[in-house]
Point group: C2
Chain length 148, copies 2
DNA sequence: ATCAGTGCAAAGTATTTGCATATCC
DNA sequence: GGATATGCAAATACTTTGCACTGAT
């Protein structure tokens, strides 16, 4: 079952309606999965498909999708929230370059051992995680070694 | 050398002045290290010591401390930034309870292996990280098992 | 005397909310 | 038909900024 099918049945079974706007918003996120878009960016793209979708509707849909665990809200410290498909969330991490502000993804998890330890030691029932590494990306290291 | 000594010499050597306001703000953070305070909260406490410290000054000091790597800005998804001493940052993680919104700390790191792998594979020069686990804390699990 | 630092109020952003209207089942 | 969702504009919340003033060296 595809992500959108799962999302639609989640909406339905939770008593929410599958409206045009919600479909449009979800499709945009699916089409740009690797993008970490903000509400504003999603709204812009949504308006190209349907100029009548308001920003408030986008926010409300994103909130709903987050509640239904379709999306995950991310924060990269630039003052706005960014969103990512829930599915992608659990098995990768983000590398944030403090020089160019770029965000890269790491497609490995490797936190199982740590999670197990935490679940036992702290009796904390883990449902998800978010790991960010700050540093200097390869490109910026090269740019710097040329200049300085 | 204590944290505040390091902070003051960092300020000085970077050409910034050690003002009353900056001292007050830093002291408050040192006295409440485990608290993850927001700018507003720091401002409130600062005002009890010196009623003339403005909120803008607090924001400016926090920004400066962040730049000097005295503090780290955190985001727990409640719409405001929270701050923590840089020293504490590198060797612990946060457990965020999605039921009671409590934030707990885990005093282990265990990310060295993962960091090494990422540094090599992605040629990303890591300087810090931030790891949040979402889930249900022990207390909420108990509360729930009583009720449901 | 100079220049960084500050307080205040105003501006700027991101997000949320109230309400009348439109839409879906 | 009745509840749910939407659009718009206004409200809110957090943070930043402009500017005149203060304070330290």
């Amino acid at each position: 079952m595809g992500i959108s099918q799962r999302a639609y049945s989640l909406l339905e079974s939770s008593g929410y309606k599958i409206t045009n706007q919600r479909q449009t918003i979800l499709e945009i996120i699916l089409k740009n999965r690797q993008q970490h878009m903000s509400a504003e960016e999603i709204h812009e793209k949504a308006n190209k498909i349907n100029p009548d979708i308001g920003l408030a509707t986008v926010y409300r849909a994103l909130e709903l999708f987050e509640e239904l665990k379709i999306l995950h809200k991310l924060n990269f410290g630039d003052g706005r929230s960014r969103y990512e498909l829930w599915e992608e969330e659990h098995h990768h991490h983000h590398l944030i370059c403090t020089s160019c502000d770029g965000v890269y993804e790491v497609a490995e998890d490797l936190l199982e051992v740590l999670e197990d330890r935490i679940e036992h030691k702290y009796k904390f029932n883990i449902s998800g995680h978010q790991l960010k590494f700050y540093g200097i990306c390869h490109q910026c290291q090269e740019d710097c070694s040329n200049e300085c």
